[in-house]
């Protein structure tokens, strides 16, 4: 699974993406984020206000309870400031 980071989240982590092997017991985005935070202190700190982030799966914004598989590309998106 590919996990992408954008904007200040990318800067705080010093990387734009991770390639991870998704454990079998992680089946939703909520579980994925919890697992990523448990394994990365910088990500855990950066996401201490998790509700502000949107998540995408395969380039579509989806809700946090969306089911995921190891083939997906996930992105963690700080609040957007375009327009």
């Amino acid at each position: 699974m590919k996990v992408l980071y954008f904007a200040w989240l990318r800067e705080r982590l010093n990387r734009a993406s991770d390639d991870i092997n998704l454990p079998d017991d992680i089946t939703t985005l909520t579980e994925l984020v919890a697992w990523l935070r448990a394994n990365d202190e910088a990500l855990d700190l950066a996401m201490d206000n998790p509700k502000q982030f949107k998540l995408s799966r395969n380039a579509r914004i989806v809700s946090w309870d969306t089911a995921i598989t190891d083939d997906d590309t996930i992105a963690i998106l700080p609040p957007m400031t375009g327009g």
Partner: protein, 147 residues
Amino acid sequence: MIVISSLPFDPGKLLHDFQSDHPDAGAAVTFTGMVRSTKDRPISALILECYPELAENEIAAIRTAAVDRFSLIDAAIVHRYGRLVPGEPIMQVMTLASHRQAAFDGAQFLMDYLKTDAPFWKQEETEAGTAWVEAKAADDAARERWT
């Protein structure tokens, strides 16, 4: 039409081309957002980061929602990323409708959704360095008025 690009665009040329394709419409509304530098808060540039695949998909969905909701004849969205200097156009939204209120409402709807749902992130470049622009609660509120 949806364009996500780092290339500059001419707001007037976009409007000209957009309207030329649709001789049957009665009303067109165009919104153009430009890089702004003020005396109180001078900046040398705005640097826009983007997730292009997601931007294409989300903007297409927002465009379809606007066309359906306001019976628009057409709608176009152009959004740049990369480094832009003050005065440069960042993005443009154009709507075409039979009557003026639908054209205005469609353009405002598109803008309100783009502000909160299109994956772009702005950094301001000043003498002190670069800093990420914070999302505005007012933008969330503006989007909520359509739900």
